[in-house]
């Protein structure tokens, strides 16, 4: 009888990287459906094109450029691609999407060493690259249900309207309920807070997410924007407005929770979320851009190695964490 002498443990969990990535894709589905309903089939095309092209590009890259013969797709590229698509405006062309995907997959991910090695969230790097390269296309917002009444196509997003015309003008156009459901102009996948929250609850139930980050991120946004709002309610908008508009929900629930580019301990996640929250409100309230979620998360991504080194878990039987390195 031939016996295997592999060392313990002999049991392993059934969880795999693929299952985690598939769960993220499932969690994003409600938002994809709502966005398709609001912005039409063109939105669906952009998201799917971005997702499929990202997966194909990753396959070609790993199989032929990195010559890893036994490569099997782990669907992490699909998640990146879909998130990138959801972060785009309806105004982008197919070749602009391709540029975004190439930047995400080749530069932000594989140039750093591939899955698990990248410092920055690849989808956000792609998005910011496009935003800087093609500012007009990336900030041409379409009216919800524009496909039903093609006479009025474009509109200002609540955040850009806010920085130009003030909060009263925004609220006369869109109610909070419309913002919550997603009937507002904006990036394709970010508009519906409701759909994103439903997807996030799925991830929570499946225990697939670092919970602390969304809590501290959104919490910080609420606290910080409340302070500003009480200081000057005319100049600054209220916290509810901040959490329902722009990319905050998509960012806090799905981009800032990317496992690869976030800290490894709950304490570290807390710091990450607070930092991203403060930066988001600073950029939105005082910065040159109307929206700051992408930048905030990318900036905090850069701090992750420092945060991990600073907030190590305490080793059992010691008073300190691991030693400095």
């Amino acid at each position: 009888m031939r016996l295997s002498t592999e060392a313990a443990p002999h049991f392993r969990t059934n969880d795999t990287t693929q299952k985690i990535m598939l769960d993220v894709l499932i969690a994003l589905t409600p938002a994809v459906i709502v966005s398709t309903w609001i912005f039409g089939l063109r939105a669906l095309f952009i998201m799917l094109f971005s997702m499929v092209f990202a997966e194909v590009l990753e396959y070609v890259t790993v199989k032929f450029l990195k010559k890893q013969k036994d490569f099997k797709p782990d669907f992490s590229a699909s998640v990146t691609g879909l998130l990138l698509g959801m972060n785009l405006s309806l105004g982008v062309n197919w070749w602009q999407i391709m540029i975004g995907v190439v930047v995400s997959i080749l530069i932000a991910k594989h140039a750093f060493g591939g899955l698990g090695q990248n410092f920055f969230n690849p989808a956000l790097v792609g998005r910011v690259f496009l935003m800087i390269s093609f500012p007009t296309a990336m900030t041409t917002w379409y009216q919800p249900f524009y496909y039903k009444s093609p006479s009025i196509m474009t509109a200002a997003s609540p955040l850009s309207m806010l920085s130009e015309q003030g909060i009263d003008q925004v609220l006369s156009n869109y109610s909070y309920w419309e913002m919550f459901v997603g009937k507002i102009p904006g990036s394709i996948g970010e508009v519906s807070a409701l759909a994103l929250i439903i997807g996030f609850i799925y991830l929570l139930v499946r225990n697939r997410v670092k919970v602390m980050i969304p809590l501290s991120y959104i919490g910080t946004v609420v606290v910080f924007s409340s302070i500003l709002y009480f200081v000057d309610p005319i100049k600054f908008s209220n916290p509810l407005f901040h959490i329902l508009t722009g990319g905050l929900m998509l960012g806090a629930l799905f981009m800032a929770t990317d496992m690869v580019t976030t800290p490894m301990t709950p304490k570290g996640e807390f710091v990450f979320g607070v930092g991203a929250g403060v930066l988001t409100i600073l950029i939105r309230s005082f910065g040159g851009y109307p929206e700051g979620v992408s930048f905030s998360i990318l900036i905090m991504n850069a701090f992750v190695p420092l945060i991990d080194d600073w907030l190590k878990p305490r080793i059992y039987g010691t008073s300190k964490g691991g030693a400095e390195n």
Binding site: L3, A8, P9, H10, F11, T13, M259, R314, I315, N325
Partner: protein, 441 residues
């Protein structure tokens, strides 16, 4: 029912159903036994018999050396065939073993005993435990008489009896608690007499409600002893985790439980102490769970120490075609054996026969920093980071980040979605670091 627990841990499938309701049966006497001189942690014992000698059951065949060592007794009545050097999978090297061929039914050789243990002094009881060759039967095999000899400047506040049995598949401690509750309480009273702790806890995972109830009944009105139900979570039965769960005390790095006023004994060890002090029987047999999907009649058995694994498996029957591996112990920490001709030893609480179906053969993917390993590590380590350091041979940094605190429970490897061999790497790296330390002196 309020339960105690520790921080971290995992929930592997328990797999206890196939043997937990089967009472402990006596296995037939083996025809030949191999008695390792290293049937314990520490210095090997010295053989005191030679080829051709006739030995009785319970007769001393190996005498414990000075320091950390323990006696070993013949587990059958028969003739010494010789002293051989054979593979000891528990230590990973070849060890000396006295081979005894059984020639007749048992003729017992007892150690001195008295039905009323209080007629002995504390020192005499420790001597009996030493003479009987009792070691930690949870698997560590640390000589029990040494653990019971408390240095003068130390006191025992809490005595903890370990009935957690958190390893999947294993049910022998549960059966002993259910079938031998009164004997265990008696054993605890002996321990109490010698160690005089302030409080005694019997820690049992709450997946064994019958054992908890039985022991509670046997305790009756002994206020000093209390059953502490534990949350069912692996590795709840690890010494440090058990101590912290019940007493909230932490054993400092590099120190022993006694340094924080605690001592832990396994229920099987307590039963062996009872058997030695009350019945005068040296440690020549113990309980074992023989289980796994590859076994036809999984169950719990009393077996003679040194019996060949093949003899045990012949009795319960195996499904040979499907077997992938056979373990000393359970699937989380069990040691795989290269051949079923190897003998058993005192620390064997289970033989688990795993089939192809139970072994997941998965690809290894890159770490995605999901932080699961950090979350489950019961020692507060960062397995993902230690793995990086260990792979890069940065042993000093790995040591600074606590790799020597790793208890090799395997929780990190179990939970890793990328199927990375974390604890296996740590096992090797720890050995390398310890070898270097030894050489440097």
């Amino acid at each position: 029912m309020p339960t105690f627990t520790f921080k971290g841990g995992v929930h592997p499938p328990q797999m206890k159903e196939q043997s937990r309701d089967k009472s402990i049966q006596k296995l037939p006497l083996p025809d030949i036994v191999y008695l390792f001189m290293s049937n314990h942690l520490g210095v090997p014992a010295k053989p005191v018999v030679k080829e051709g000698d006739f030995v009785k059951t319970g007769q001393l065949v190996g005498e414990g050396a000075k320091g950390i060592s323990a006696n070993i007794h013949s587990s059958v009545t028969g003739e010494v065939m010789g002293i051989e050097s054979i593979v000891n999978a528990s230590t990973g090297r070849r060890d000396q073993a006295v081979v005894v061929k059984r020639t007749s039914e048992d003729q017992w050789e007892y150690v001195k005993h008295d039905a009323d243990f209080k007629k002995f002094t504390k020192e005499e009881i420790i001597q009996i435990v030493k003479d009987s060759g009792i070691v930690g039967l949870g698997g560590a095999m640390f000589p029990t008489h040494i653990k019971m000899s408390i240095p003068d400047n130390k006191v025992v506040d809490y005595l903890i009896i370990n009935g957690a049995e958190c390893e999947p598949y294993i049910t022998i401690d549960e059966r002993i608690m259910r079938e031998k509750a009164n004997e265990i309480i008696k054993g605890i009273e002996i321990m109490d007499y010698v160690l005089n702790p302030k409080k005694i806890f019997i820690g049992i995972e709450n997946n064994k409600p019958e054992a908890i109830e039985t022991l509670k009944k046997s305790i009756k009105n002994k206020v000093k002893i209390e059953v502490a139900p534990l949350q069912t979570k692996y590795p709840q039965g690890a010494e440090k985790q058990l101590i912290t769960a019940i007493t909230k005390r932490e054993v400092p790095e590099g120190k022993l439980p006694i340094d924080v006023g605690t001592l832990v004994f396994n229920v099987s060890t307590v039963y062996a102490v009872y058997d030695a002090v009350i019945n005068g029987k040296p440690l020549v047999e113990r309980g074992i769970t023989i289980t796994g999907k590859g076994v036809k009649n999984p169950g719990n058995y009393w077996f003679r120490i040194g019996t060949k694994v093949s003899d045990l498996l012949n009795f319960v029957g195996i499904v040979e075609a499907k077997i992938d591996r056979i373990l000393y112990g359970g699937p989380m920490m069990g040691i795989p054996i290269p051949s079923i001709d190897l003998p058993t030893f005192k620390g064997n609480n289970a033989i688990t026969v795993l089939t192809n179906e139970e072994i997941l053969r998965r690809r290894t993917y890159p770490c995605i920093r999901c932080a699961s390993c950090v979350e489950v590590c019961p020692m507060g380590l960062q397995p993902y980071y230690l793995k990086k350091l260990a792979d890069a041979r940065k042993n000093d940094l790995a040591q600074e980040n606590g790799i020597l605190s790793c208890i090799e429970c395997g929780a990190c490897s179990y939970i890793c979605p990328s199927n990375i061999d974390l604890s296996r790497t740590f096992q090797t790296t720890k050995k390398v670091i310890q070898a270097i330390q030894k050489r440097r002196g």
